[in-house]
Symmetry: D3
């Protein structure tokens, strides 16, 4: 029924106007995001039918989040609203070279962290669904979330979904050791994996050259497609991105793209959404390039979700023409 | 050393622009407040030396709160910053007749809720201090906060401070029964008490006529001065306020004031601060009228703290002259 | 499948900050609304399943409108996007006594005005739907829109839907004579009608006392339920509202409510949505009172759609308690 | 060549968002105004040809002021730009009952205060002009300004202009005694005078009943038309206005109007502009009523100048219809 | 009487805050511009007497546009206000590499598109005027506009004005073939022409090297001065500009300038205004360099019109000194 | 008692939103700063006890400034409030290559300019204080300020404070000759001096190579530590900074840092504060590098004062890691 179903948490992101710090702010812009939602939202923006599965507080903040999810084009029908629960929040400010953004995560005991096995009727949600997505953050939210993530991946495979997983690791949630223990359980149920060098070294101790690193994931966990993304950060306001994949013992490479950085949050998720779109519509190489393009565009737009259209991404794939169109 | 020391919690207050609801907001204005802080801040605005004693997260949000406390003129020297702790937040929107404001309190497990006996060096803080203030919210934050409030009142009395207490009751924190149990412990250490009819009925079951109600507090708890405030709410955007006090078996009454309502938050605290100022500078009757005036002004200014001056309050006490001065 | 399907137009509403005039503005707030959408959106806010049927430009403005429709909880699946078409816009400013708001409608040749019979698959949309709604604006947009409105009402009745119609008359669209000619065609297919004294006099020449006026609609057009709403405008920033209905030869009356006026746009639509909700959940009297309450709340919130919850409306029905809840 | 030429000062008006006080502001809205300019600007808004004569700093702030003057439709051709001079500024905040607005005038040594006799080519400016306007503020700016005001009125009378004068008295500029000494010199050259009870008592000691008060001005200074305006201030956010005039030994009275108060600054100037417009187009009674209407509208619009049209004023003269027009 | 008279259209430009896309906006900044107006406005900013000739809707939006035109220092006396007409609007968002701005032009049937021959009294407007300006957009607005543009150029030449024309081609208005047909009619009445490589190739098929390209215009249409501008777009937020001219069979070249890009809209018009200023005050080479400097500055300022002064441009011509002056 | 006491002036800094010019602004952001305050404020942000000594107007603007000083963590206890005095203001806009910011200083006759010898009780303020700071601006404010600066430095030395001085020269205050005459008086009482090449050449005619230049200050004035800062301005939005020092006949050099430029105001003061911090905590080399790091961070944050923490500066000293931390 859906092209993709994603399990995870939505956060309020509160940010002062650009280049003010949290400490000096008198106003916050209100954004919503969360790595798992962003993947679903970006695919919805590209015309795919997606749903987001989570728990939200049953109050104005939870409803605000619901409205934004619906506005992205994601089906909010499977969200559960929990009376008395709290909303996870992340406070961030924007930076410029050589300063780094501040992130204050305040997600402890959030509604989403109370997700547990048995909460959702997977049969109804996943039957007929093509892709089932979650990531490395979800099992870090709580033990019950980790169990629910496992239930989700198993339920998806059992119904013929392709499972997708982004190995996000967040220091504010847990240690590498604790993360690895859970990841090992989950990865054996994953078909398409996205990772990067940082997390591979920090969590798994995979320090090999790129081509060998992706094989480690395949060999140890059996993932069918292993994607490795590479971000260059020459300065805070300018960057570049590329990605490669291992499939069927072949290495496939995308084309590197440069971009200005307006809002870096959610750009990795944009890549994964773009990869999945391109993969569904074409092949892995198309996926890598579509992902790179969506990721580049994501850097130039405020907010965690790319406000774009297929024709805009395709235009960029044909080569950037920076003249104003009128 | 201080005219008043207040023990309590500071909250971030996040509010959409007036008359937008939380659910539809794209921006929050950032205010700071909290009933106990407001009393100290309003007295500082009137030139008194005050300090606020609390715990804050050791991050940009805690520092933001510190800066605001200092900006109010309150001494932040006794604040403690707790690494990894979280900031209490309240989300509110503004309403108009016949709609009611939304308040979402998200203060569970805040840095302030970890306050416990022994945290603060009361000898250093309270020696030479005239007034020691806290209220009915603090013991509701956590069991350790309730114990710390008791320690605070005892320590204050032991050092010759006059103790002041506002019987604030908050439904989101606890039941009337649980509140009463704690209030009974605390009130016997209180010299100056502020209360209103709602909380008196709801928590203590004091449903008598005004003159008898205040005597109940005196008789049961031994408070020297018992103040009863009375708010009229003919409509959301217009109101009136009066107060009376029992002292030495005499009933003293203030003069009622009407006002437009721009921001109702913190206006009760403004009354108490104004009462204390007027009482310190004059007598109880002056305190009631000064409090009424400060409370009326507080309704007309955005934010939890009254941005005013003594001469402005005095002007109002002489009778409002609404012509523009230039 | 839906509780209500509405056919109509969505407009961008561009407004300067409150009490600036259009002429002096340097910023516009962007709202979306439209009488037909507002009915569907308000019902969705109350938990009903609704859909909005319209045509939109296939560009960023049309997509913006789609996102807002989805955010309201209204199903956008039946919207059609027309390449090269334009978005209808209304520019409005807010006023205070004795000044009147400015409205500049710029909706000529909008995407919605190109709606014509045969555009929508009514069978798919209306089968299993309870209420089919449109109003007096839609036939004024263009001749093809008038034809499509007729097709819509007929198709709805043919599939067992209850048809609902608000006799909105807009001077910027057409003359009373032209409007009446079309209304006469449409009203014979209408089950539940909402009207007011102004339009009844101006378009139909119905100048009788209230009780007779509603009977004229029943007698001439056969409407089963005829609702008459009454707005009092003592000043720009304060008002009152009541409503009555004729059903089965009985006059049913609601309870009058007073309110502050923050944003008057869409409040009549809020009444109709509230009436329909109350009617579906109870009876006509409940409908009138629920509508009055929703209408009163609508005046206190920025934007064309009421951001409320059932419990909030019910609270007001029990009697307004203006104390802050915390 | 002009319908009215006004001599005076333009000020930047810096105001925090409504109901924030200056002390707590993080942003100022930038308005421009000044009693003498407002009269010219309001007349220009009504279609009259007007010019403003003043000196401005030759920097971005002076140019900002010039652009706003031109935007009002006032001819900026006779403005002089003075290198190194400073711009006069007034800081104001908005209030609500029972609080009064703050005004901090920072106009000492402004470019306008350096105006002196001989600065302007009156022959070129005033020849063919109908009305020459200035007021009681200008002579208070500096001794040279007072001399220049006298030169202006004399030059205007010598060229057949009707001279108009508003007896504005500002405490921040001078004492009543010093003001009276200058006013006495000027008033003998004035044809149409506007005054109110406050200034009449404070500066001239005219404490009589209204009908006698206006005669005092006529008898002592020979003014042909003496207008007396009356403002009622029942509350900060609601008011009423009326006016009367003495001409040819007859008392003419206007009709009283009530209004909400959004921005009170410049409303007296709006009255005078409206009076002059109505007088030029009709007679004194029309002038009083047109002035009252323009003054009422002025209260409902942000900024010192009324953003209105003749048809809007005429609509109000026919009786306020508060229904939205669409 | 004027240094330059320009015939054309003014548009509202509605833009979200920088780096938000139209689709996600909740506010628009309101700018006004239009290629023909920009030339007149920039020259007025530099102290030249200019007028803008157009038709506007007779409503608040048309008056807003009039006020902005006057604020630029351009004479609005020849604008005509058309009751019931609509305002042309362009919606744009800002981009960063590698994303391109969105432009949605909604100018169909605007007031300006109804301009037709005979509308304006050219004798009054053009007599004594030095430069008469219009461009390639105006004839694309409507057939009557194309006829009016021809009438304008002929009338100007007949009264001894130098005619100036910018070969702007807009895809949203017409095809290259239709544009060429009209351009050919107009160019034979043009003295000073500005063009670039894109439009030369797309509309005229002039694909030669620069030096030959400009001669084609001279040879085919008889233009006395042919300017060719060259924009480099290494990235969205950084650019460079140069220009050259053919006059009297000689090629004159300007000096290239680099700049940050804050707002690219109107920068080509800034160049032409700067060229005309420098040409009037000096010679063609001065014109090219003055135009390049004004164009560079235009990129660094929000809005379509350069907010600068002659001394600032001259400072840049002497070589940029980027130290803050204080 | 303090780590640093600074004597000087605080200014309101009024700035339009980034990349709007003053002339076109409709809003100003309100910042506070001033070179002498910035040094004290930045040190307070790093945990040092500092006080600012100045005079302020006794009105809402002066109180606003007081609140901001307190918010920075600087002790406002020694500020004096002068009834009727005015606040100094500087209006600035932000620029991009190749445009330069506008600065309009309006500080003539400010409250601070009335500072004179004898105003402050230096014994109370300076006893036990480590560093006493002022700079080259203060003596330029007025003759009495120059005398007071001399008194301050002498009083500081007499009480064993180390005196620090930044040779700021401002063209809007005085000529190089007048500045030099005063500087010569002051510098003989200075222990730690900061200067740069521009001011050294312009005021003192010191045009030597760096190593000799710093010795000139030592040899002529006897300063113990002479720091020379060097700013590179390759473009408006990107820069670099380095510094060196002469001490005990040795040249010590810092490490150069590059940065994006968000807000250049106050960055030199940040350097000096950082130098003093590093020097107090370590040695001169640590001071140079700490100053360079604080200066680099200062460029990336809005406002005149660096909103940072010691750990953030130390992170940068270890080498910038531009990855987001979460």
């Amino acid at each position: 029924m859906y092209d993709l179903v994603s399990l995870g948490e939505i956060l309020l992101r509160l940010s002062p106007p650009r280049f003010q710090r949290l400490r000096q702010a008198s106003q916050f812009d209100i954004w919503t995001g969360g790595a798992q939602l962003n993947v679903a939202a970006n695919l919805a923006r590209l015309g795919k039918r997606t749903a987001f599965v989570s728990k939200l507080p049953d109050n104005e903040l939870g409803w605000l989040a619901r409205d934004r999810i619906a506005a992205y084009g994601v089906d909010p029908a499977h969200l559960q609203f929990v009376p008395g629960a709290r909303m996870g929040v992340v406070y961030v400010d924007f930076s410029a070279t050589p300063r780094v953004s501040t992130s204050i995560f305040d997600r402890q005991d959030s509604a989403a962290s109370t997700i547990q096995p048995g909460d959702f009727r997977w049969d109804e949600i996943l039957t007929g669904t093509r892709l089932a997505h979650t990531d490395g953050i979800v099992p870090g939210l709580s033990a019950s979330c980790a169990d629910a993530a496992l239930e989700f991946l198993r339920a998806a495979r059992a119904r013929g979904c392709t499972t997708t997983f982004d190995v996000n690791y967040r220091e504010h949630l847990w240690t590498p050791d604790r993360a690895r223990a859970r990841f090992v359980q989950l990865l054996e149920h994953v078909d398409i994996l996205a990772t990067n060098r940082n997390v591979s070294e920090q969590v798994f101790g995979f320090g090999d050259r790129d081509e060998d690193l992706v094989k480690r994931y395949r060999d140890e966990f059996g993932c069918k497609i292993v994607c490795l993304t590479h971000r260059e950060i020459p300065s805070v306001l300018h960057g570049a991105w590329n990605s490669m994949a291992l499939y069927d013992n072949k290495i496939i490479r995308g084309r590197r793209l440069e971009f200005d950085v307006i809002d870096r949050f959610g750009t990795g998720d944009a890549w994964f959404a773009g990869f999945l779109y391109g993969y569904l519509e074409g092949d892995i190489e198309h996926g890598l390039n579509f992902g790179n393009a969506l990721c580049a565009l994501a850097h130039t737009i405020e907010g965690d979700v790319v406000q774009t259209s297929i024709s805009e991404v395709q235009g960029l794939l044909r080569g950037a023409d920076l003249r104003i169109k009128r």
